[in-house]
């Protein structure tokens, strides 16, 4: 075998007490496209951030061309020819500058001369785009006029100008259309021919099989296996990603479901969501599983009235809903536990009791005046009911752990007695103990006849909690599993755009 151009060996990295990487390995030869796969939390992004100089490893070494290197900063990584094309291209583009200036940005920033020759700049930029065979992009226009896909190409061109040897693509196709993805793949082929090593991270297996030469699978912060793409099958890869899947105890529902509570028909938001139909019954927990970017959060927010739907209908308890604002959804009986807890769910500098009473201020006030003792006793009530670890209802929430904060986000809806709960990734960043409490609470809600929608990319957790699982891929529901039929492997296959034969 060819000796690798890049070799990362025995990489260790911890964040506090959490080990993100332990003995991780990765190798890349020149002119190959190497896919890096793993489920959430497998350590892919940590490894990539170490390679691009964002973090420094605690132990282990990185060899480039046989030489040991230290990548202390993104600048150092760039000096070694390592470039990254992030999913959020807008963070790396200066919208007011021209395309040419954006392509030449790193060169301009490090140039010694004071004056810039614009014609020369345009010329060089044009040449670079020609190499990628995307010369139809006008280099003089300001970058904000470009589409997302074109901005990606500008970033690739920028890497090429600085004679990049390794380009990391972090979920590059997530925001792209199929046509745009094809275009990107042909550009990646060009890069390959020029001897650039490409690292390709994607949740979409069909793409990985289309574009990559080799596949490295990671799990729990370490290397599982390296596959030659030509010889590998999707099932093999998925098995490697999941490992010997440990099955936590599943609870069984021992009560009958009630009437249909939520009935969604042919819902589209004119953007990500496309023609979704499903129902939730009273007492039922329906899991909506999909990988990052599948459209789960968009669905939750559309149901809750934060984004308006363009097509389709939503019925709650048989009544047609027209929600224009979350206030309407709340009055109709919905509750949303949003994904970004601190940003969307809490007032972190306020006390627990202020947070808890907020969705239902009328209940905690006489006429206009707040009834602070009612607030306090409600806060004490949810502290007890949800086993929140704090002894004071007045402590600002910043001082609570993530799991306890999440319990407040859930608990604040209890006073409204909502009938449908939308949980968007409720276990994100929550410790094991709090997780168990949250699951118990969701089950209690279901048992008392509430409907629950559980949006998650943690497949095993969704299997454990849900009565039924809907798999989302690219804004659509592609498969429904009953609890008995659902396995991690089958769900992941559908969630990554595959199909069973």
């Amino acid at each position: 075998m060819v000796s690798p151009f890049l070799s990362m060996n025995a990489i260790q990295k911890s964040f506090g007490h959490v080990k993100a990487l332990e003995g991780a390995q990765f190798q890349l030869v020149k002119g190959e496209v190497h896919a890096l796969l793993g489920v959430n939390g497998a350590g892919k992004s940590t490894l990539i951030k170490i390679l691009s100089g964002v973090y420094e490893q605690d132990a282990g070494d990185i060899l480039i061309d046989g030489q040991s290197v230290r990548l202390r900063s993104p600048k150092a990584a760039k000096e070694h020819g390592i470039y990254c094309v992030y999913q959020e291209v807008d963070t790396a583009i200066v919208p007011e500058l021209s395309v040419a200036e954006n392509i030449m940005l790193d060169t301009i920033a490090t140039a010694k001369n004071v004056f810039l020759s614009m014609p020369k700049l345009y010329e060089e930029a044009r040449n670079t785009l020609k190499q990628l065979q995307v010369e139809n992009i006008q280099v003089q226009q300001p970058a904000y006029k470009l589409t997302l896909a074109e901005k990606q190409l500008v970033l690739i061109a920028r890497a090429l100008v600085s004679s990049a040897k390794i380009i990391i693509f972090d979920e590059p196709t997530a925001p792209l259309s199929i046509h745009e993805s094809d275009k990107l793949f042909s550009v990646i082929q060009k890069l390959k021919m020029q001897g650039v090593g490409c690292i390709f991270i994607s949740h979409r297996l069909p793409e990985v099989f289309e574009i990559s030469d080799r596949i490295t699978v990671m799990r729990d912060g370490t290397l599982v296996d390296v596959f030659q793409t030509a010889d590998a099958t999707a099932e093999e890869i998925i098995e490697a990603m999941l490992g010997t899947s440990f099955h936590q105890e599943q609870h069984t529902r021992n009560y009958p479901l009630g009437e249909t509570l939520l009935d969604v028909k042919e819902l589209s938001d004119g953007n990500k969501l496309n023609n979704l139909s499903f129902t939730v019954s009273e007492g039922e927990i329906v899991g909506i599983v999909g990988l990052v970017g599948a459209g789960k959060t968009e669905l939750a927010k559309t149901l809750f009235g934060l984004v308006s739907l363009t097509k389709g209908s939503v019925k709650l308890s048989g009544k047609e809903l027209r929600v224009k604002h979350p206030g309407d959804a709340i009055n109709a009986g919905m509750a949303l536990i949003p994904e970004e807890r601190r940003k969307e769910g809490l007032f972190v500098h306020e006390s627990l009791q202020t947070n808890a009473s907020f969705p239902n201020l009328r209940k905690f006030s006489n006429l206009l005046f707040m009834n602070k003792s009612a607030e306090k006793s409600f806060a004490k009530d949810i502290i007890k009911r949800l086993q929140i670890k704090t002894d004071n209802t007045e402590t600002p929430l910043v001082h609570l752990s993530g799991g306890n904060q999440q319990k407040v986000v859930i608990g604040k809806w209890i006073s409204r007695d909502s009938i449908l709960y939308l949980f968007d990734e409720p276990t994100k960043g929550v410790d094991i103990g709090a997780k168990a409490d949250i699951f118990r609470l969701i089950r209690e809600l279901a048992e008392s006849g509430k409907g629950c929608l559980y949006f998650s990319s943690e497949i095993q957790e969704a299997i454990n909690i849900s009565d039924r699982i809907l798999v989302m891929y690219n804004g659509q529901i592609v498969k429904e599993f009953s609890r008995g039929d659902a396995t991690q492997e089958r769900i992941l296959l559908y969630a990554s755009g595959g199909k069973e034969e």
């Binding site: 979350p326 969307e344 500098h349 907020f358 969705p359 201020l361």
Partner: protein, 340 residues
């Protein structure tokens, strides 16, 4: 290591102390200092005088407080007050209107300015500082155009020839110059408004919604609050307070001075920010604002007694604002670095 940690701890608790008691300590120091150098300072007459002098600024500052609570800012309050001042005077002097209209119409003007501010900020999405800065100029221009640059006083000569028919009525002047139960009427009005603002902000549902909108608009929206309406309301409230300040000013001075509000803007803003740190509230609040206005009022009164040149007062006001901001922001940085 330990020594460094200890040093940090001392530094941290120092900042904590400054934040909680800084404003109060400053007030005590100022009072002690001025009473030690002047016998006229620590007298009942002088203190009612101070209270009366801060009543107008306090009203303005309460308006600014409301906009800051919802996470905005209103720079146009000074101009709005100027406009209200001349409108009030003109209604009596030029048009001889009855007292109730003389009070209602300027407040309507304040509401209109507030609605325009809200429109720019909430509907069009212009950043609050820039929108209200523009409004500040537009409103100031309007009030000068309306008066043709002249102050309005009893039976003034008109540019069109002849003299104005009306006068400021006794009943109206009582609002600004009368006394009740041993205190000037403006002081009662100020105390009443501070109390109302305090109760609304801290003890009602509305106050809760206002604070939460400012604290995290996204979370408030997801809890069912229409944050656009809330912000709209805050700017209208600010306009109303500014126009009340204008009415009070006219009644106090007995004429419609032009540009009356311009110098008050800085004092009002400074009062609010001094108020941030009163007893460690860490956010805009009604009592703090009153307190901030008092600190500035006492300081200026003392400096007058010291015979400091009037032109130097702006330096002092600016310094008070800067120190209040410094304490507030250094503390905020600390607080956020703890959570981040």
């Amino acid at each position: 290591m330990q020594a460094v940690g200890k040093k940090n701890k001392i530094k941290e608790s120092g900042i904590q102390f400054l934040f909680k008691y800084g404003a109060i300590a400053l007030l005590i120091i100022i009072i002690l200092y001025f009473s030690s150098i002047s016998e006229a300072f620590l007298t009942y007459a002088n203190f009612t005088d101070i209270l009366r002098s801060i009543s107008i600024v306090t009203l303005l500052a309460l308006g600014v407080t409301f906009t800051l609570v919802v996470g905005g800012f209103d720079l146009s309050v000074g101009s709005t007050m100027s406009l209200s001042t001349v409108v009030t005077a003109s209604l009596m002097v030029w048009y001889e209107m009855p007292l109730w209209l003389v009070i209602i119409l300027p407040i309507l003007v304040g509401i209109i300015v507030g609605v325009l501010n809200s429109f720019l900020i909430v509907v069009l999405g212009i950043p609050d500082l820039l929108a209200t800065l523009s409004m500040m100029y537009i409103v100031a221009g309007f009030h000068r155009t309306y008066t043709e640059g002249y102050s309005i006083y009893n039976n003034m000569p008109l540019t069109a020839g002849g003299t104005a028919p009306g006068q400021l009525s006794e009943a109206f002047l009582w609002i600004g110059q009368g006394r009740m139960l041993g205190l000037p009427v403006p002081v009662w009005i100020m105390l009443g408004m501070v109390l109302i603002a305090y109760v609304v902000l801290h003890h009602t549902r509305w106050g809760r919604v206002l604070y939460m909108t400012g604290g995290n608009a996204e979370a408030a929206t997801l809890s069912g609050v229409n944050t656009r309406k809330v912000k709209f309301a805050a700017y209208v409230i600010s306009g109303v307070f500014a126009s009340m300040a204008g009415i009070l000013f006219t009644a106090r001075v007995g004429s419609g001075q032009i540009d009356a509000g311009a110098p008050m803007l800085m004092e009002a803003v400074a009062a609010v920010f001094v108020g941030y740190s009163v007893l460690g509230a860490g956010k805009p609040n009604a009592i703090g604002t009153f307190f901030g206005a008092a600190v500035i009022g006492i300081l200026l009164n003392g400096l007058t007694i010291l015979n400091l040149p009037y032109y130097a007062f702006d330096i002092i006001k600016g310094l008070v604002l800067v120190s209040a901001l410094a304490v507030t922001y250094v503390y905020a940085k600390k607080r956020f670095s703890q959570t981040g």
